[in-house]
Each structure stands twice: as structure tokens, then as C-alpha cells.
Symmetry: C2
Subunit: 489 residues, 2 copies
């Protein structure tokens, strides 16, 4: 019997009919059972069988169903289909303990935070390469090489290619076949497009990076932003059937949904419901705004994916939606002319800290002008900036902090602070600020150590002694200073 690692992908491939339109005419899926639990999973048609060494008829098509088992032990399955040759195929496998580094999918934990399914904490430190997976293998491999040593554990990326300033190139793959008329045949997906996408999602998984998949976006010259509702829905179900078994997938309904003129709020609600009902594993779901927030309080939204430059509002958003706040887009380090892409590295790092000490999570992006228009923010490649290293420094600090995450504790004239009351405080004085002293009011009767963190220089300097109650401490009198205050245990 086959062994499948917990939260890895079990895949069953069957040959089946290729006549008619298998994407639409053939229904195929499977029921996976463990003890009293049965999970129904959609399969998908993956195109004509191109395996020349196969014993099967070369005119057959390939059907696959993928499953991510979340419980160790014996599982069995039986396929279901409206075509006899695909129906009632049975089998078993054993779900084994995960290998090191496989912590399962990420879930919301402790209302405002995240954790892997195995309970280990996950602090999202994301970056953005919207269209990196549409750049061809050479650049895509370079991007993966960069990610190997970069500090990021989440990647925002679009399923569809991107048309925008600095993004004029034609993608390698398209999602649909062309009809004889030269127009897209929206009834026929292009399996190569999705196979390539899966390859890249798998590459990210192997690097420990969550793939925040953007399902729709407005930057389009090919028609992906203006498909009809039937095509939209079929696309969603097909993508989910293919990708949901990847443990590192998140679903972002859209980037800047409010710029997509062809969609209504009812469309977005429907997309959420389709994703919610189609994904057997309930991967994280969000939607990303340009100007106006979607109502993140709606039940199918697992966390807030925010575009906003003012991280000072993070606490307010937490209180408004009672969900994790991920400010995926607060401006990017770079030197282009647009305001969203001309932040100094200092300012981007500053925004990370401003969001962090208000109990939120912030995302990275980089937009330096490049002779071939290879800007990390959309195409990947290599990093040119100085913020990524500092963001990695912040990640290290979070990962040795409270496992449950840190929540906002105070924000006043002097300081902004998140932590766990009486245990742990991470305080930040701010960019553009240079206090030379702070008066801090710590709980009486408990001793604390205080460390001065230079978030830009990436140094952590312990202050001598321990502290309790009201204390005044001296600071370097320069910007980008934080304090870590921990209970002596």
C-alpha cells in the first residue's frame, strides 16, 4: 500500500475519454474515507494522454484527482463519474507522519494570528511577485534562487498573467485554448498553463513559502478580467480541483477587486462561496482592495488582506473585523515615480514595525527601475534593495517571541506596543523619530529585562540590570528604535 505523508498530495491518475469536451462533459471525483469520515473531492481533466510509452490508447485523456490527507492512518477511496470507465475505481493508501519542515496548511489561530495545522506558529512575512510565474523558466528559476535565501514565507502571485506598466511582455502560457476563430475557447482550459502553475506552487512549498494565489485581477489585455460568470465559476472550480491539495495554497479572490469594473459585489460574494464550498481543506481566503475595503466581516473571509499606506490604522481594523490583519500592500521599496513604489528601504521597514506593534502583519515588495523592466514586485528576479534583510531580522524576533502572537497593548504619545501583558512587550518608537529617553510603566512586582533594538542596523543591545514599575531609560536618540521587554523567568 502506498504511503502518503500527512498534508502531502495523494494523486490518482486515470485514463478516460477525450471526445466531446471533457472539461465540461465529464464529471469526475472521488470520496476519500478514514474511519467514519468521508471527504468528497473534485477531480479534473488534465488533457490528452501524451505518454508515448503508455500501454493505453494514445487518443485517451488523463483524469486526475488529488487529495491532501490531514489525519495519519489508513485511507481508502472510490472514484465517482458520469463515465463508466472513471467511476467506482477503488484504492487505499496510508497517511504517515509528516517529514520535518512539513507543518501542514496555515490556519487562523488566536483570532488575530496564524498557525500551521501541526500547531507551530506561523508569522506571515510576505513578498509580492505578481507575475513571476509568467516569465519563462530562466527568470522563474532565478526568482526561486532568490527566495531560497530571502526572509519571506508568503508569496502573493496571480494565476493570470499581468498587463500593466513595466509588464508588457507576453506570458509563456495562457489558461485557455484558442478556438479556430483565434478567440479564446473559454470552455477548454490549457492544461500546460495549470501544470506550470502547479510546478511553481510546489517549488514555493518546498521553500517553505505559502502561495497567496490571486484568482482575479484587473491588469489585463487578454480577457481574463472580463470573462462571463459561467467561465469565472468553472475556472474557480477547475483551479481548486487542481491546486487545493497543495498545503501551501491561500486563496485571494482578487488584487484590487474594486478596480474590476466588470464585477459586482454579488460576484465577489459568489466567488467566495464557490471557493469555500469547493475547497475540501478550507485554505485561507481573502480579498485585496485598492481604495475601498470589502466587508472582511463576512463569514467566508478568513483574514483581512489590506492595501493601505497608514499602518497606524492596524489596531482599528483588528477591532472592526476581529480577524488577522495582513497589510499585503503598504507601498514598496523602490525608485519608480509612483507613490506606491518609491519608498526608501528605511520607510518600508518602518511600516513593517508600525504594523507589527499594532498586532498586524505587513508585506514586502520591491520596485527599482531596471533596464529590462524586471521589477521584483511583478516579475521576480533578484532583490536590489535593503529592506529584505531588515524584514528577516524582524521575522527572527517574532519567531522567538510569544508563540500565540502579539496583540496591541498601548499606543499613546510616547510609544506603540504589542505583546502579552505581564510577559512580553515589543515597543516601537517610529521612523522619523529620535527620542533619547522613554518613561515606561511596567507592572510592579515583576522583573523585566529590556533590550534596545535598532531595527535598521539590526542590533539588539541589552540594558544592564532588570526593571519594574515606572522606569526611565535612555535611548540612542535616533530613528527606527524598538524595545523588547521580557519577563525574567
Amino acid at each position: 500500500m502506498r504511503d502518503i505523508e500527512r498534508w502531502d498530495i495523494f494523486e490518482l491518475s486515470l485514463d478516460g475519454p477525450q471526445d466531446g469536451n471533457p472539461f465540461i462533459d465529464v464529471h469526475f471525483g472521488a470520496r476519500f474515507s478514514h474511519k467514519h469520515r468521508v471527504v468528497e473531492v473534485d477531480g479534473f481533466y488534465d488533457g490528452a494522454n501524451t505518454n508515448r510509452s503508455s500501454n493505453k490508447d494514445r487518443s485517451s485523456g488523463v483524469y486526475r484527482v488529488r487529495f491532501m490527507p490531514d489525519t495519519p492512518g489508513p485511507w481508502s477511496y472510490v472514484t465517482t463519474s458520469n463515465r463508466a470507465e472513471l467511476d467506482g475505481v477503488e484504492g487505499q493508501f496510508t497517511c504517515t507522519d509528516p517529514n520535518p519542515g512539513n507543518h501542514g496548511p496555515v490556519r487562523v489561530s488566536n483570532t488575530y494570528h496564524f498557525a500551521y495545522a501541526d500547531g507551530s506558529p506561523y508569522f506571515p512575512i510576505g513578498t509580492t511577485c505578481y507575475a513571476w510565474n509568467h516569465q519563462g523558466d530562466e527568470l522563474e528559476e532565478q526568482t526561486l534562487g532568490t527566495l531560497r535565501t530571502a526572509p519571506f514565507n508568503k508569496m502573493r502571485m496571480c494565476v493570470f498573467p499581468k498587463h500593466y506598466t513595466f509588464n508588457q511582455n507576453e506570458p509563456v502560457y495562457h489558461a485557455f485554448e484558442r478556438a479556430d476563430s483565434g478567440k479564446w475557447d473559454y470552455g477548454r482550459f490549457n492544461p500546460a498553463f495549470f501544470q506550470h502553475l502547479e510546478q511553481r506552487v510546489g517549488n514555493l512549498r518546498d521553500l517553505g513559502i505559502e502561495a497567496d494565489m490571486i484568482l482575479f485581477h484587473p491588469y489585463d489585455r487578454w480577457g481574463y478580467a472580463t470573462m462571463d460568470a459561467e467561465t469565472d465559476d468553472r475556472y474557480l472550480r477547475y483551479l481548486i480541483a487542481r491546486l487545493a491539495a497543495y498545503r501551501n495554497v491561500w486563496w485571494s479572490m482578487a488584487n484590487e477587486y474594486d478596480l474590476m469594473r466588470a464585477k459586482t459585489m454579488a460576484d465577489w460574494d459568489r466567488f467566495f462561496r464557490i471557493v469555500q464550498e469547493s475547497d475540501p481543506y478550507q485554505h485561507l481566503r481573502s480579498i485585496h482592495n485598492c481604495h475601498q475595503f470589502y466587508d472582511h466581516a463576512k463569514p467566508w473571509v478568513t483574514h483581512c488582506s489590506v492595501q493601505h499606506h497608514d499602518l497606524g490604522k492596524t489596531t482599528e481594523w483588528r477591532e472592526l473585523y476581529k480577524k488577522p490583519i495582513v497589510v499585503d500592500e503598504c507601498g514598496y521599496e523602490g525608485d519608480i515615480e509612483r507613490r506606491w513604489g518609491n519608498l526608501t528601504p528605511q520607510e518600508l521597514v518602518n511600516r513593517f514595525w508600525e504594523g507589527t506593534v499594532r498586532g498586524g502583519y505587513v508585506g514586502h515588495g520591491e520596485t527599482y527601475l531596471h533596464p529590462q523592466d524586471v521589477l521584483w514586485w511583478s516579475k521576480g528576479g533578484v532583490l536590489h534593495g535593503q529592506s529584505a534583510a531588515r524584514i528577516g531580522f524582524l521575522r527572527q524576533i517574532l519567531e522567538v517571541g510569544p508563540a500565540q502572537g502579539i496583540d496591541p497593548l498601548c499606543e499613546d504619545w510616547k510609544i506603540t506596543c504589542a505583546g502579552v501583558e505581564g510577559e512580553y512587550y515589543l515597543c516601537y518608537c517610529g521612523g522619523n523619530r529620535q527620542s533619547a529617553r522613554w518613561q515606561i510603566d511596567l507592572p510592579e512586582g515583576t522583573r523585566f529585562t529590556i533590550e534596545v533594538i535598532d531595527t535598521w542596523e539590526m542590533t539588539i543591545t541589552p540594558l544592564e540590570g532588570t526593571y519594574s514599575g515606572q522606569c526611565e531609560i535612555h535611548l540612542p536618540g535616533k530613528p527606527y528604535i524598538a524595545l523588547r521587554i521580557r519577563k525574567v523567568t
Copy 2:
């Protein structure tokens, strides 16, 4: 016949009764006439006659009336009083042309800007030393020495002494006499207090600095913030009778009026009306908020005196109130622990520019920790920071720009810009930003020169050639960069 320079002070002193309470019992004033115009001016009691060489009875009191003539030519006057010895005294003087450097009082000009009475432009570049005039002569002279070479042409200062953090010292003078009970006798002013104040206002005038006189403020341990209405009103009239003839006086009803719990909105309205009706010269009037703006649209408000950290709202405030916007307080350069006093010099300069390119005016203050608590922001002394020089650089740029002032022209993803359409553009890219190129859309058919201004390094670098229509220019890719674009004439 005496000569009095235009916009200088004509003063008539008369000896009069000292019995009873001359501050309340004696009414004294004068009518000043030029051709068909008659200006009624209040005089004031200035205390017992201490001039030993005087021929007069040493038990007499001194009464003065001051007048600032605004029209050259012959003037005559006649005093009015409820006491015979002060009534009907007549005289003449000639108002002569002003000396160089005397441009008269500052007025609102061109809706959002200011100009001196002689028509020369005035661009307010203010600083704040709230209580500098209560620190004793040694420190006060040092402050004046600093101001002599500093770039400021406006000073925010309180009539009353200040009690606050870093401000625990007792003032040299108090505004009232003490009664035998040890309590203040609010019916009797202390002339020495006001004489000293006038001396300092005159010192500022001689340095070309407008004195933005804060009439009330909440930081008080002596009782000035909680006087009854009768005392408040008498104080206002007395102060105006003494000070209004100083051409460099502005009236600020309060600092952080909304923190003064003992006052109602009706009180503030009344104060404005009293100042408006008592000041024969209609000096500028404003009121300064902490959290909530007073309705600056009210008719007696000449300009908006704002406390706010976000200069991005300047254009909005202009549109809201249709008056000049002076952001007197946007945070100070310094290293104290409070957010309002720990800005880096870069950030304060940045805020000046952000306000300027939105058609507003911004104020300076400095709050570096000092072993004797001599912080410029309240006590004066010397400047320790780095922003003042850059603010002076901005002042120079404004003073060679359009005389009518610059108005906001555009604010988009790329640039914020104020100027005069088709003639002059002052653009600012921002702090924390580092665009390496800008695409600018200049009017077609007109040639412009472009200069790159490094607002921090204080350099102005002309770009080669001239520009018209859509153009792309290369920038240094660092923060604090502005552009000056001027029509070729």
C-alpha cells in the same frame, strides 16, 4: 510738530489720578483724526508715576494712549476720559514714510496668503518659544541673539507664564497684583508684567519677527486659565490697549483652546469679538487647537492656526475654510519621549515641504533634552537642531517665488505641486521616498527650466536645457527632493 513713522507707535503719556482703582474707575482714550477719518483708541493706566525727576506729584499715576498711524500726513488727537484732568487734551503729529524694513502689519492677501500693509509679500516661517518672555533677561537676551540669525519671521509666544513638563520655574513677572490675602487681585494689573512683554514684542519687531501672541492657554498653576469672564474680558481690553499699536502683533485666542475646561465655545466667540472690536488696526486673529478645530469659517477668524501632524490635509483645510492655513504645530524636532517632540530634523523639514506644496505654511519648534530643561520650544535659548537652516533655505525659495504665494495645483500618485499655473511650479516628492525618475506633464507651447532641489542638502541643481509638454526627467533617487519649474521669460 512730532514726526511718527508710518506704522510706528505714537504714544501720549499723561499724569492722572492714582486713587481708587484706576484700572477700573478711570476711562481714558483718544480720538485720532486725519482728514475725514477719526479712529477711537483706548488708553490704559500704567501704574504709579515712578519718575523721580518728574515735576509732577509723585503720588500721581501714568496714563498712556498709543496709536499706530497707517496713513502719512498730519494727524491730530484729542483725549477722552471720565476724569477732567485726562479729558480734552489735544495735539498733532505728522505721520512720515516708513523707514526701510518697516513694511507695516501683516494682512491676509490673495485669500490663502499674507502680505505686509505696504504690499510686500510675507511668507510666515514661524517658530515657537511659548514662554521665552518669562525666563529672565539673561536667557531672553540669548533667545533674541539666536533669533537675530535664525530664519524665522514669526514667533508664537504666550502672554501668561507656562506650567508644564520641562516648565516648572516661576516667572519673573505676574500679570496681577497680589491682594493682602496673598491671592491675586484680578482688578489690578501689574504694569511691570506688561511693560516687560512690550519690551520683548518690540525686540521681535526690530528683528522683523511677527509676535503671534497667545492670549490664553491651559498650562497653568497660577489661575490664569480659570479667571472669571469679567477678568478675562478686562484683561483682553487692557492688553489690546497696550499692545495693538505694535505693528508686529498677531492675536491667537489660545493655544490648545479645547483643553481649557473652564471655557466654553461661547467664551471663545466672545473673546474673538472683543479682540475684533477693541483692536483699531485689525491685527490677524486665530485660535489654535489640540484635538478639535474651532470653526475657522467664523467671520472674526482671519486665518487657520492648526495643530496637526498630517500636512497632507492642508489642501482640504484650505477648501474647507477659504483662509490661509498656518500649521503652527505639526510636531517638533527633538528627542523627548512625547510624539510631538521627537521628530528627526529631516522629518520636520519634510513636513514644512509637504505643507508648502499644498499651499499652506508650517511652523517650527525644537525640543531637545537639556540638562537645565531649557528647550527652545518653550524657553528659547539657543538652537541645537538641524532643521532651522533647511527651513531658512525654504524661506529663500519662497521669497524669490511668486509674490502672491503658491496654490496647490496637483496631487497624484507621483507628485505634489503648488505654484501659479503656466508660470511656476514647486513640486515635492516627499520624505521616505526616492523616485529616480518623474514623468511630468507641462503645458505645451511654453518652455520651462527645471531645477532639482535637495531640500535637506540645500542644493539647487539646474537640469540642462528647457522643457515643454510631456517630459521624463531623472532624479537622484533619494528622499527630500523637490523640483522648481519656471517659465522661461
